[in-house]
Amino acid sequence: MAGTAVRGRLTWQVATVGSLTDETSSVRTIELEVPDWAGHRAGQHLDVRLTAEDGYSAERSYSIASAPGEAVLITVERLDDGEVSPYLTEELRPGDEIEIRGPIGGYFVWDGTDPAPVLLVAGGSGVVPFRSMLRHRERAGAAAPVRLLYSARSLPDVIYRAELDKQPGGVEVVYTLTRQQPPDWTGHRGRVDAALLGEVAWPADQLPASYVCGPTPFVEAVASSLVSLGYPAGQVRTERYGGAGGT
């Protein structure tokens, strides 16, 4: 309700669309200019609300793709049967206005102050909050070593590939391609399983911080594999995405 904002309560506000960047054939990054942005933490998300002329409205959550202190970016994967993502990835133009609220979440965040090693496991567009964390690590000069294990269908489906391929020291990015690999591919193939995690994940006795993000079945499988490797069940932070995003 306009004019009755309560402290701590989130209100919808109008954001203006800035630059648009195509990441893959079905994924687009959208810059949002938000006049009253409170500042976000790496890993948080925001809600987008689209309202049709007849009053029907739909809300979706999108992870923030930029570091704290940077312009607000969200990265959206087009789901062919989606109500919101086709509009955001195909119709939206710079200068358009959309309703958002955020930042949201205090669980799936990494502030970079803990020097413990960090394991990030991404399925498809689940890599988005990790891009915020990696950018934050670099900007904040955080010392924690990071390993990102990223499962994608094929090399052209890898989001942020150019940026991920030139990470600074202390960050290792490992890809696994599940459906299609280039002829000269020497990396991992197939889904993330306990064997691959055993190879890539920090040993549990190093007390790593761990984050898993992707479609629900991916997250469930990875989280239970990590627990089988000795990661304490309550300490694997998980965020599940809806839709049928490819991993």
Partner: protein
């Protein structure tokens, strides 16, 4: 649509409770287990949002929006406690 988790309704819960709630502890009134709201099972395809216990599957919370009002049923929760201090990672 798949089952999601409590992260997906972080915005809705802030709208209702006026605070960050994904790090709150939720105690199931059916089985007594306690977990973070972020780790509960959430369905959004129902008319409204339904939160279920990850251990026993019982309904913890239902939020249905009617006109401009959120109708909130918390009868499946024995306790819902926000963290005393902001979570630091």
């Amino acid at each position: 649509m798949d089952a999601l988790d409590g992260n997906a309704i972080g915005g809705l819960l802030r709208e209702i409770f006026g605070a960050e709630m994904t790090t709150a502890s939720a105690t199931c009134a059916t089985c007594g287990s306690t977990g973070r709201v972020a780790e509960t099972v959430v369905y959004l395809q129902a008319p409204g949002a339904v939160m279920r216990c990850r251990v026993c599957g019982a309904v913890l919370m239902v939020v249905v929006r009617r006109a401009e009002t959120n109708c909130v049923d918390l009868s499946g929760l024995a306790a819902l406690e926000p963290p005393l201090q902001p979570a630091v990672c």
